[in-house]
Amino acid sequence: AQSVTQLDSQVPVFEEAPVELRCNYSSSVSVYLFWYVQYPNQGLQLLLKYLSGSTLVKGINGFEAEFNKSQTSFHLRKPSVHISDTAEYFCAVSDLGGGFKTIFGAGTRLFVKA
């Protein structure tokens, strides 16, 4: 069965500093990986996704993530954060065995300070 672990529940960081949000997954088959962002009082929206091909995936708002199969990780990075990046970030996994089901991690709250 699939599962997703987001290793940090909260990540405080100063504006213009780099940030990494960590995500590990488990699955017995090939996986598809996603990062979604949830701004306060809004629904989730896709930042980026990995289906196949290049392991470095670039998304919106300057975010990127790297798929590492040997470490079963899909960490999200941004070289320089802005106050407006303050939000909840969700890593998610789906696979062929799971059918239409996507499993979401518990979320990481990114808090960008001035």
Partner: protein
Amino acid sequence: DTAVSQTPKYLVTQMGNDKSIKCEQNLGHDTMYWYKQDSKKFLKIMFSYNNKELIINETVPNRFSPKSPDKAHLNLHINSLELGDSAVYFCASSQGDYQETQYFGPGTRLLVL
């Protein structure tokens, strides 16, 4: 134009009442979902419909009943509301299955008193 819309946005009600939440998507997608997000932000799939057919039905009390009148709509009816039902309920849609991006509505904040 809102891609995935939900009504109402807020719902405050008493224990034991019955309530419905409506969802509509104008993206032409064939798959729709209901998720529950608890106070700790944990997001859990409840139901999914593909072309009006139920394809995911997680371990959810049978007080919750989804209904999809057509591909663009997925409603959620909740009978005999309990305190533990208080949460944010999100509707989402996608074109196809597990590889596809899901588009989320703004959420319905349900508070059961």
